[in-house]
Symmetry: C2
Subunit: 562 residues, 2 copies
């Protein structure tokens, strides 16, 4: 089975997740009053990797990095925008979905991480609609196929053009022998609640469905003749803008470029440092606490802009996670550490909590929520280490609860006269950052002893030292000086000796006990099935559908059902 | 990757799911008053396939077929039993789990179906506890490892012997580079609600956990010294028996051997016929309606025994599904048909509904529920065809709603003067047979239009013809004489042309819209991850952990995280 990655285009050596509208190759972002338009007009020759052209508005990860950037900028830079139109810049095609040649030539790990990122972007659109009052209208003009329809599915309202040829489709199963990889099956069944037999028919019709049946089967929301398209889109945008909860009461802030320095074995940001140990296959991600107290009032926020500590830290952490996920496949374990004053971290949490009704504070908190969710679904072992000098308080303490396990030092190490490590809880640990299955990390941790959540809550604000944290169930291991270094070393060595695949599967199962939501089903159920299918010879083998696509030769399948 | 199956032992050509206690090789079933004991004492040389020995009470599908048989017999043949003890017949080992050499040498499809069946058996134990008042106590004496601990997890109460060596463990990840395949991860997190970091530690310790920590981490319910073991087991059994809801008010009925005749291309049972078309890769399963009216009252039931139509039909259907699943991997589509009088089928539903408080009727209805669940998780396309002469009423109509799609004929075919096909709803379609995610098949079908459930419910008892059934949303396609044969032919041909893997993944996603339960998480989430891992070279490749196990050579892993 082919597991050789395409070469990155233009001599690039890593995938970069930072961009801005001036550099977009594939999307155009325009704003007119309270309506923004995101126009997809893919540059065929602008692929992220060599070896394929992005024909028919098909996309690769590079296209989606721009979309993700635009979605974030709409929230932070455009507080006045209440409705976002998703449109095609090409005739007779909305979007043909993920590029097939890109998929056929990608390493398994790239395919999986590509799907994960596109899923996160679409979840981000729904989060924007739900929590920022920016709702999405998709104008499906022309073929809206595969990932193209999955993009439409992330919108609140899908308008299909009634021109005899515009259609929606999920042709992955009949055409490519894979599944729709960006939530398509789950959104068809759980968001749009298409009847399961209709869904079965829909997902096996290569050419898709057009006209009235698409509305009857709830695949789209309305059907509009081309002659009335523009007026209808305008009317729908106006209606949605009128109902938006968006508070257009301030200037946006610029998401300025992140300051980053790449080293052979790490990355340095302003508040985040990544140190890679290739022998141990670990990356240590150290988060620095705030360098100053939060501003006196929310009016000062605009002046700080993207340099406001919680926002800058979140953006840097997000970038670091994406860098490691997509450029460092052999790094199996992420070790979170922190440095700084817990009191200042807690003070920032208090500031955010006190001003949560303010649009920018609201955006920052939801941004943190999304970054932490990204950590949760990262398929690397996560361990958080709490030592003297660390500042795991509130928002940062979520990284203790997001970890597969945590180690906390009792007292101090020999020769270190800093006070013992402490963990501090704030209100941020009890609500604003739910995981993708709807529970807070503490609720999820204490599924079997729900009273422990309350026992932790009454300790908000206290500096909780190791033995007490252990007693409260907040850390996995509290260890003293004598055991500390050995235990950590043995753990990391042992972890490195296990099969990366088995760890990925195990962690994906253990991290999300309890309830499920559409979002968690996408990551847990659909993703796992897709990963399976992405390994099957029927899809990726020499005679499989992905490899044979476009060759004129039909795929040859192993006919056994599993 | 090795995908060649072991040869079946003793010259057998198919896996048989029918057995009885007199033929058990691996389990002993004994009954003493209201307490039954199931003793696992595996015959090393009694493996289902050639090429391995079942050492250390490890199991293969053959061992689990006996367990599944015993669980059913306890419910039907032993109404007086209120508590079932699971014990080992060997010293110092409870059960070492699924046999590793068996796994290493099995075809992918066999491994997956093996895990599916063992999952269904363990779900059946929990169903027995919940709905039949037969609760399970597992006595974990000695090593209780992997599938052995997963068996324990299916029990209501786990007693771990405190002898310095008895332990529970899930060593799959560190030892074999696979996941616990029989619900272990899900039951640890969702049933026993073990804290996620404790679960992470537990699932990566090859030697497992013994003593007090096993209780503290909720991995077992109590720790008992060997000297007090027997008295404690007796006391727990007595306590549980006293609380049981089991109604010991009748004689059991014998689950007599099924009458079956195997042909090259099919199987004939009393009320079920299977016709295999190898060219089209379909199996048509025809269910015959009742040959007589239900008895006048419940007192007559004992006399009918296993020949009572609903019970015999359910047992035959269950066996047919298992036969096809495990012996006919290339049959991609199951076509359900029925023949008989709908009124008689409905009359049996009415009889069951009226007498549902009777222990045997209760058992029969829960048995149907389990058989229908088995259909739901069968990884073959399911299509139900409703023609003149069919009797899809109530319980049988569930096979219309379990199907990926259904076809119903409008009117009659030329030359057939039987009345047009009709569908009949009964109370059985509105409650007693929930799917594994907790919804009825009609609720699941109508997720997007819940009022349609009510619209169907008021039509209970009517003979609903095709166009009306279509209007009510009960069938996928209502077709007349002109289109009928062509549409069905094209559908079956097209389905056969698709990748079996992609269809499996698609159907698994579309069949279970809406909520999730522990059971559905086991089949949807854990199974999908396990299927993925069962394909990965790190597990099953020449240098993978499963293949290298016991060779003295360490596995060599692809270190990339996916």
């Amino acid at each position: 089975m082919a597991d050789v990655a395409h070469k990155l285009a233009n001599g690039a050596t890593r995938i970069d997740f930072q961009t801005d509208p001036a550099r977009y190759k594939h999307w155009k972002l325009s704003v007119d009053g309270d309506v923004a338009t995101l126009t997809l007009d893919v540059d065929e020759n602008g692929g992220l990797f060599e070896g394929y052209q992005l024909k028919m508005n098909s996309y690769d990860l590079g296209v989606d990095i721009e979309l993700a950037d635009a979605i974030e900028r709409l929230r932070f830079e455009h507080p006045g925008v209440k409705v976002v139109l998703l449109r095609s810049g090409k005739d007779r095609i909305f979007c043909a979905g993920a590029n097939i040649r890109m998929l056929a030539g990608s390493a398994h790990a790239h395919k999986v991480n590509f799907c994960k990122f596109t899923n996160e972007t679409r979840n981000g659109m729904e989060d924007s609609s739900e929590n920022s009052g920016q709702s999405f209208i998709c104008v499906a003009s022309g073929a809206t196929a595969g990932g193209g329809y999955e993009l439409a599915l992330a919108a609140d309202h899908i308008i299909l053009v009634d021109d005899g040829s515009s259609s929606v489709s999920l042709p992955e199963v009949p055409l490519l022998a894979v599944l729709p990889g960006t939530g398509g099956l789950t959104r068809v069944s759980d968001k749009r609640k298409v009847r399961r037999d209709h869904a079965d028919v829909f997902c096996t019709i290569e050419e898709g469905i057009k006209g009235k049946r698409a509305v009857q089967w709830r695949l789209v929301d309305e059907l509009v003749p081309a002659s009335r398209l523009d007026e209808t889109v305008k009317a729908r945008a106006k209606e949605r803008a009128a109902k938006s909860t968006r508070k257009a009461d301030g200037e946006g802030i610029r998401l300025t470029p992140l300051g980053r320095a790449f080293r052979d074995n790490g990355i340095s940001y302003g508040f985040v440092t990544v140190e890679i140990d290739r022998a141990r296959r670990t990356a240590t991600i150290t988060l620095k606490g705030a360098d100053q107290a939060p501003p006196a009032d929310v009016a000062a926020l605009g002046g700080l802009g993207a340099a406001f500590w919680p926002l800058q830290l979140a953006r840097e952490l997000d970038d670091a996670i994406l860098e490691l996920r997509n450029n460092e496949f052999e790094i199996g374990t992420l070790i979170f550490k922190s440095e700084g004053e817990a009191a200042r971290v807690a003070a920032h949490d208090a500031f955010l909590e006190a001003n949560k009704a303010h649009w920018l504070v609201n955006e920052i908190r939801h941004y943190w929520k999304r970054v932490l969710k990204r950590v949760d679904v990262t398929s690397r072992t996560i361990v958080t280490v709490i030592e003297p000098g660390s500042c795991f308080a509130g928002t940062l303490a979520e990284l203790v609860f997001a970890a597969d396990r945590s180690y906390m030092l009792i007292g101090s190490l020999e020769g270190d006269n800093r006070p013992p490590a402490a963990l501090t809880l704030t209100r941020a640990n009890f609500g604003p950052y739910p995981m993708c299955h709807g529970l807070t990390r503490l609720q999820s941790r204490f599924l079997g002893e729900p009273d422990s959540v309350g026992r932790a809550e009454v300790r908000i604000g206290e500096a909780i030292e190791a033995e007490e944290a252990d007693k409260l169930g907040l850390v996995t291991f509290a260890l003293d000086d004598i055991d500390w270094a050995d235990e950590l070393r043995v753990f990391l060595e042992e972890r490195t000796s296990f099969s990366p695949d088995a760890l990925t599967g195990m962690e994906a199962n253990l991290r999300f006990g309890g309830p499920e939501t559409m979002e968690s089903k996408i990551f847990a159920r659909l993703t796992a099935w897709q990963n399976w299918i992405f390994q099957r010879p029927n899809a990726v083998g020499e005679e499989g559908a992905l490899r044979r696509y476009g060759s004129g030769v039909r795929p040859s399948y192993d006919l056994r059902r599993v």
